[in-house]
């Protein structure tokens, strides 16, 4: 086992000094991206980047707490819709975008807590949770798809049914007149995502993180130690919903648009795949794999052939078969091994 | 009757992951013999027998059955060669009936005449099983479950039977019943038996001799006189 177990005590890659340097280099290289690319590539990269909290939310519930949820995309969507409704109705107010962001995150968390009540206080078996969250997501999609008419007008915003909600306000900062686009939007996303990432890492390495990991490792023993695991699972689930909703809000600010099919079956599986491919027990690994996979999928679709879904499927299969702990995590550990060899010599 | 070796081990080592639990255990079980393996909790008795039957890989050493090497074979192959196993905690299938357990055990015995003979014997030994034959195993009492686990292992017509902690969680009067049954079917079936237990009276009433295990190694061999001496036994079991 060796190096792998050395990392087990620590709850993410990049705790050691050398890896901290890596993390900083990662951040710096991300902030250089727009300088070497055009305005539109920066916008594209912003899309890859804004999915990171969604990937992290799966990492948190699944990787750290052992609850596999297909419902993250539902929280992503609900936050997007809620932002659209709130910000779209309050355009007269100053800084209405911020009210929208807060409202979006809160509505997702509210919905998550209702669902979490059903899931955790009923003490359902572990395998039921992924299936049930998937069903929940499909239910939400079915509901939203039929909200086409005027009876689904909230304030002056139309839900828009299957065609989606259009004209969602872009992000605007109070001291700048124009909405953020291109470079400025990219840096906004980078800042937001980096803050979320750092906060989450601090959280996960704190004593609360230990409790969460303990629940994953042995829920019975954790319960005997006096922790109400249901409350903790509830808390983690709601927190993860908040993470997913950050992505959802950034997404609608990016595309000014959201449709029910973005919370469908295909979309629901995506963040889980990112987490599995990166290595679900590491925030850093999943942030890398999220950017990598969204980029990969985008690149494939620009080829204009019919093979893109086959490649994406094959990537999932290969990562599971060849890299037990996810591609990024496995590579990282092996690089660490190599580093140790060099030190010895 | 000339006693020959049924099961022997040579310097068997095994464990979980990188931790070695069993260190160089060598035992030899002869035909029609009941051998105890005794020692305190966590000294590696169960790990040792699990190694014998293939549930845990031996990292070193050799296990032979009638002179054939069976080291690290798949458990089902070892079972088919005639090693019966009554696991610690009984390992019954709670959602299956008593009858189904005996049927399952009996599949090792391809000869249907022998199979019915064994079934009859089992019901003779443990009449309660016959009474409850269509009841779910999960709803039986601990002692009844232990009888069922023994019955399941016997149904396959083993050459050697390994009993892991049959007295655990069983009422004292039932323990005596089980001890009698062990002696009884040994006589009828000419079986060799390995008995792991911490119950001094069960050990001293049934086994012919015993290996005392400590920290994963055999520290002493108790002959037939020694095992009859309950005081000596309790010393080994409780130190």
């Amino acid at each position: 086992m060796g190096p792998l177990q050395l990392f087990l005590g620590e709850r993410d890659l990049g705790k050691q000094k050398s890896s901290l340097i890596f993390f900083l280099a990662y951040l710096v290289s991300l902030s250089i991206v727009p300088m070497v690319m055009g305005d539109y590539e920066a916008m594209n990269f912003a899309y890859f980047l804004l999915n990171v909290p969604l990937g992290l939310s799966v990492t948190l519930v699944w990787g750290y707490c052992g609850i596999l949820s297909f419902g993250q995309i539902a929280f992503f969507g609900v936050a997007g819709y809620a932002y659209g409704i709130i910000a779209g109705n309050l355009t007269q107010l100053p800084a209405y975008e911020f009210i929208g962001i807060g409202g979006g995150i809160l509505s997702s968390m509210l919905l998550a807590s209702i669902l979490a009540y059903f899931l955790f206080f009923a003490r359902v078996e572990n395998w039921i949770i992924p299936v049930l969250t998937l069903v929940f997501t499909l239910l939400l999609e079915t509901f939203l798809a039929q909200t086409a008419g005027y009876q689904w007008k909230i304030g002056n915003v139309l839900l828009g049914g299957y065609n989606g909600m259009t004209g969602i306000p872009s992000m605007r900062l109070p001291w700048i007149d124009d909405p953020l686009y291109g470079y400025s939007f990219y840096y906004y996303v980078l800042t937001f995502v980096a803050l979320v990432f750092v906060a989450l890492r601090i959280f996960i390495n704190s004593k609360y993180g230990s409790i969460i990991v303990a629940i994953r490792e042995d829920s019975l023993r954790t319960e005997v130690l006096g922790y109400d695991i249901r409350k903790w699972q509830f808390f983690v689930f709601v927190l993860a919903a908040a993470l997913a909703s950050v992505s959802g809000i950034l997404y609608v600010q990016w595309g000014n648009y959201i449709t029910p099919s973005q919370l469908g079956l295909v979309a629901a599986a995506q963040p889980v795949i990112w987490a599995a491919i990166g290595g679900r027990s590491s925030l850093l690994a999943v942030s890398l794999s999220t950017i990598g996979m969204t980029w990969f999928s985008f690149t494939l679709s620009t080829q204009g052939n019919q093979l893109s879904l086959i490649f994406i499927g094959a990537a999932a299969v290969a990562s599971i078969m060849l890299f037990r702990d996810g591609i990024v995590l496995t590579l990282w550990n092996n690089v660490g091994k190599l580093g140790k060899l060099f030190e010895k010599k | 009757m000339n006693q020959s070796s049924v099961l022997t081990t040579q310097d068997v080592c095994s464990g979980y992951g990188t931790a070695t639990v069993v260190r160089d255990i060598s035992v030899d079980i002869l035909t029609n013999e009941i051998v105890g393996i005794i020692g305190r909790n966590g000294v590696g008795k169960s790990t040792f027998v699990k190694t014998l039957i293939g549930l845990i890989r031996a990292s070193n050493g050799k296990v032979t059955l009638f002179g054939n090497d069976i080291t690290n074979l798949q458990p089902e192959l070892i079972a088919r060669k005639g090693v019966g196993y009554v696991p610690q905690g009984r390992g019954i299938f709670p959602g299956m009936t008593v009858n189904e357990h005996l049927l399952l055990g009996g599949y090792l015995q391809r000869d249907s005449k022998k199979r019915s003979k064994f079934n009859k014997l089992i019901f003779d030994l443990f009449p309660i099983l016959h009474e409850r034959r269509s009841q779910m195993a999960g709803s039986l009492s601990g002692g009844q479950q232990e009888m069922l686990a023994i019955g399941r292992a016997l149904a396959g017509g083993p050459e050697i039977l390994i009993l892991d902690e049959p007295s655990e969680g069983v009422q004292p009067n039932i323990v005596g019943q089980i001890g009698e049954a062990i002696l009884n079917f040994r006589k009828q079936l000419n079986l060799s038996i390995i008995l792991i237990d911490q119950n001094a009276s069960l050990i001293s009433n049934t086994v012919d001799r015993a290996y005392a295990v400590e920290k994963g190694s055999v520290v002493a061999m108790l002959d037939s006189d020694a095992v009859r001496d309950e005081e000596k036994l309790s010393k080994v079991l409780s130190i």
Partner: protein, 291 residues
């Protein structure tokens, strides 16, 4: 409107809906219940069954004779998937989930590349009968029969045959099962292949009532998973029956009076509420308790 024909129609609809749920979920239920593997490629294996049926019918084989081939191809596909992938993932339920998701994508898009967007549909055999203003498709009655037959067959196999007993023992405790001479790996392979075969057979049987297209599998996924979740994995037969039965009984009257949307939403909510009431699945209710 007379009341008797309406009641008969409702019963027919409920049975049809129940049969649909049973056919969708039975293969998934076996694989999940026995092996603790959530097979996200389940819908795609059903698609394979429908493809086999359509291709053979195009070749001139009568529809009913294609069904054994559907089953066999499903078994074959199951064996290959099990041999190449699943056997390395028995203790890693969630990895298996991601893997089967990927496989599902490859199978569906592969079918699109090889066979194009649609295969010719299969003419529904038999006609219809009429009673009191409602007509009933004989093929739907046949589907109800097939669903019942499959459940009975699986019940027989699991309860009365050596294979079934061994499979159940393996499902309850694979380690102990191996110590009484049961080959765990073989049982897992057989179970997975059998589950895949059943899925493909269900796909074949349902093929005449559906569009035969590469992504047709997705339509079965949600009903199959809901049935499985509500039923629970503790007992395949009672779980499937209770779950499909109660869901169909809830959905049909709602759908009849309030329309399909209400029926679908009713189905989802029924699932949520049933799970809250019976977190371990309806199979955990014992109607014929033996305690």
């Amino acid at each position: 409107m007379e009341i008797a024909p309406l009641i008969i129609s409702l019963v027919y609809q409920a049975l049809t809906a129940g049969a649909f749920l049973v056919l969708c979920s039975i293969g998934l239920m076996i694989v999940l219940g026995m092996m603790n593997i959530i097979n996200l490629a389940h819908g795609e294996i059903m698609m394979i069954g429908a493809y086999v049926a359509s291709l053979l019918v195009t070749e001139g084989l009568p529809f009913f004779l294609t069904l054994p081939f559907c089953f066999l191809v499903g078994v074959l596909v199951g064996l290959v998937i099990e041999f190449l992938f699943i056997r390395y993932l028995y203790s890693r339920i969630l990895s298996a989930l991601v893997l089967t998701w990927g496989l599902g994508l490859i199978i569906a898009q592969g079918a699109l590349l090889i066979y194009g967007p649609f295969l010719p549909s299969i003419k529904i055999p038999f006609g219809s009968i009429e009673y009191g203003g409602f007509t009933y498709s004989i093929y739907q009655l046949f589907l109800i029969f097939v669903a019942a037959l499959l459940v009975a067959l699986i019940y027989f196999i699991l309860q009365k045959t050596e294979l079934g007993l061994k499979a159940r023992a393996t499902m309850q405790n694979p380690e102990i099962a191996s110590t009484i001479g049961i080959n765990r790996k073989k049982m897992f392979s057989i179970t997975f292949a059998f589950g895949a075969g059943l899925a493909a057979l269900a796909g074949g049987v349902l093929a005449p009532t559906t569009t035969i297209a590469p992504f047709m599998g997705t339509q079965f996924v949600a009903p199959a998973f809901i049935t499985v979740v509500v039923g629970g994995a503790t007992n395949i037969i009672t779980g499937t029956l209770y779950s499909a039965g109660s869901l169909a009984a809830i959905r049909t009257p709602i759908g009849m009076y309030l329309g399909s949307f209400a029926g679908t939403v009713g189905l989802f909510f029924a699932a949520l509420i049933l799970i809250r009431l019976y977190p371990n699945g309806l199979a955990s209710i014992r109607l014929f308790g033996r305690r």
